[in-house]
Subunit: 448 residues, 2 copies
């Protein structure tokens, strides 16, 4: 399957231009030096979680697989590189035949992660792996940041559904990926039609103030909406006066009115008043949807309010303060040649300024306590201890260039809920703190 077959809005003939120029010039230099084919291992990890966060959420893995499959240098791309003189003919010839033929392992999408977790491991020749750096990081950094915010919000919302409404606050295609990541993180639906089209996420909609203002009276607007959408629709009740609007809404739609939306004011107070008014009017099943710059803290503060659903925009698509996940893509081991028998040598940048990396091809496992609750993220480069063998986190995603782990989006969504439920209870505290479980390095290979 090629992403180009999937149509809008990711209908790009190739992902190969989502690449920083230095990846191509490093390739060219390595080709000339005879080092390009050295067997190499790159890993994606983050040195730290955003300040105070207890866990991270892996998201975007499915999009990474699409991007890798679709990473081709067609004539248009090659012509651009030639015209700009970015690399020479020999390198262009090599790129024309490019297909990733290596292996990729990774934390499955929806899994939680911690500082140092080897979220993705890309193995192959240096040449074929180095080219994927930018596109892999773009996807994982963006999508994981959104999923982490979504997870905190869905945890704060409990059983009440969350609607993703942030498309207008971010780049039009980020919005589509954000809706996808939000769904993985526990959101129920999105207002973004492109996300519905592309990923099959349930879409929903209410009404805007403009619709009320278009009409001569609020009553006319409500009548028009109910005539068109039926009594089950959601009427926006805060264009003029909320109390009057709620009365009008129930008069127009009857007590079968589906829901009302409140988009401004002190939501806690207004929700209580509106609930009481709806009940008094006999609209006991009419739901209340609140929107208006909600984040996980605002959602939590409304836990005791008579609210049935939350619409979240800005704070979701901007990662609730942390719009990127600060993951890096680092060479951690390489051999002296392409020979599969040549030993892998761990490599790592020496620190100058705190940017320590741990060399070596890694495994990871989550150790549980006697009650089955996670107690440590264990990362190592040697053999996996027997007691952790069935707790390993990395799964094979690509084998010899072929994607082997595609899955429908409901799978990572359920996986995330299960992974979060397996963490200590303090994982879902919203207050700032340390990662909820420590990262332990087995054999202490730091810098080896």
């Amino acid at each position: 399957m090629n992403t180009a077959d999937l149509g809008l809005p990711v209908d790009v003939p190739s992902t190969a231009l989502f690449t920083d120029q230095y990846e191509l010039t490093m390739l060219q230099a390595a080709l000339r030096a005879g080092t390009a084919e050295r067997r190499s291992v790159f890993e994606v990890f983050t040195r730290r979680l955003p300040n105070g966060r207890r866990y991270g959420v892996v998201a975007g893995t499915g999009r990474v697989l699409d991007a890798v499959e679709n990473f081709r240098f067609d004539e248009g791309v090659l012509g651009f590189l030639r015209e700009r003189g970015i690399v020479g003919e020999e390198t262009l010839d090599w790129l024309a035949g490019y297909r990733f033929s290596g292996d990729i392992w990774g934390y499955p999408e929806g899994e939680v992660y911690f500082p140092g977790s080897p979220i993705l491991r890309v193995e192959g020749s240096f040449a074929e792996c180095v080219l994927l750096e930018t596109v892999v990081l773009s996807i994982l950094n963006h999508d994981s940041a959104i999923a982490a915010a979504a997870s905190r919000m869905s945890s704060a919302a409990g059983d009440r559904p969350l609607i993703e409404m942030g498309a207008r606050r971010t780049h039009e295609l980020s919005a589509v990926a954000a809706a996808r990541a939000a769904y993985v993180g526990g959101f129920a639906s999105t207002s973004d039609l492109a996300a519905g089209f592309r990923y099959g996420i349930p879409t929903v909609g209410t009404s805007a103030h403009a619709f009320t203002l278009l009409h001569d009276r609020e009553r006319d607007a409500f009548r028009a909406q109910v005539d068109s959408m039926g009594r089950g629709t959601t009427l926006l009740v805060d264009t003029y006066d909320v109390t009057e609007a709620v009365r009008t809404a129930v008069e127009v739609a009857g007590p079968e009115l589906g829901a009302v939306r409140i988009d401004s004011g002190d939501l806690l107070l207004v929700a209580h008043r509106v609930r009481q008014q709806l009940d008094e009017l006999g609209a006991v099943n009419t739901k209340i949807i609140v929107t208006s710059d909600l984040d996980e803290y605002a959602i939590a503060s409304l836990a005791a309010a008579p609210v049935d659903a939350y619409g979240v925009g800005t704070q979701l698509v901007t990662g609730s303060g942390y719009p990127t996940a600060s993951m890096v893509y680092k060479l951690v081991a390489r051999a002296e040649s392409a020979d599969p028998a040549a030993p892998l040598v761990p490599v790592a940048k020496k620190s100058s300024g705190g940017k320590v990396s741990v060399g070596g091809r890694k495994w990871a496992a989550r150790r549980l306590d006697e009650y089955g609750v996670a107690e440590a993220e264990v990362i190592g480069t040697g053999p996996v201890p027997r007691e952790l063998a069935d707790r390993q986190l990395l799964v094979q995603l690509v084998k010899g260039g072929h994607v082997v782990a595609r899955e429908p989006l409901d799978v990572p969504r359920r996986r995330h809920a299960a992974a979060r439920a397996g963490l200590p209870l303090s994982a879902t505290q919203l207050s700032r703190g340390e990662p909820v479980i420590p990262t332990e390095y087995l054999h202490g290979e730091a810098g080896s």
Copy 2:
């Protein structure tokens, strides 16, 4: 010109799915109610600048024009809407013939803006205008946020060039738009090949730690890079020991070495040491490029350091703390019918929670003081005072559905530099403060 003709990476057959579902259901309700054709005016504005910022930067206008031209409901899109039951057949028929046929006026791209500035004004029938809300806001909110950060950074950098390197920290297509907005805001180049391909922005690249680690010795890596790229290349000198790396770099490339890059450590200190060492080695023309989580404050703090260029990633593509510009798209006036002679009635949501909007179709002008420096953003709904007639800010972008103001990207880039230079000097102070000029409403139409 259609964006689809422009190829990668915005090759999507239509932008019509970058739409929130409620726009379509409002359309359907208005069609049935007979109000869909009412002549309407929508405006894009922001109620406030990000906390402490002195001015905003309009960016994305050119992309908005592409999106509006490309906003079509083809069979694939219509089939999706039908299958999901989002709107009925009558509405689908209307959408099949959709072409925006109205007028769009706006602040030209690169111009600065302030709270309340009518950055874009979209005029036509309610039906044709309401559909554009999400895609217009997505583009302007994202691109303007990035351009504002870029402008602060370019102001802090003075004459030293800035390189955009943030692709890996944001969604792969946001990255392309971010490179474009950064260029408008004063950046000189980008590392993102897709941005070079799509918008003709100059691209540059250096080398990564992985390239050094791939080789048996740092010297081998430097030799390979110089053999491939020539002596004018930029060598990365902080993989192991900076002093030794600089010595090796000059030994390998000679004093003609183009530049060295430093990506970690105390950049101020390291830059001074490296400059001294390069000079002692006779490499007096070798430049120093610094990277490593720079923002406008870090750039300003390096003003006295011997640095020749800055590479900026994360903080640029995340808007340096403000990843979205919080612009809204509001109905501000509408007539009782489609008749061009029917008077426009100003409309606005009544406040409940501070979300005040000012009704009426607006003009804007920047009043200058006796020295030609901006002193107020004047916004009004009545006739334009004679003394402000030639200081008006809105220009026509679309006329009767046709784009009339396309321009190459260097034009908004120069326009921004000129607009910023026309503000009071305190505009470019990095410290927090109020908008550098006040917004004045003429005729005091608030809420009228």
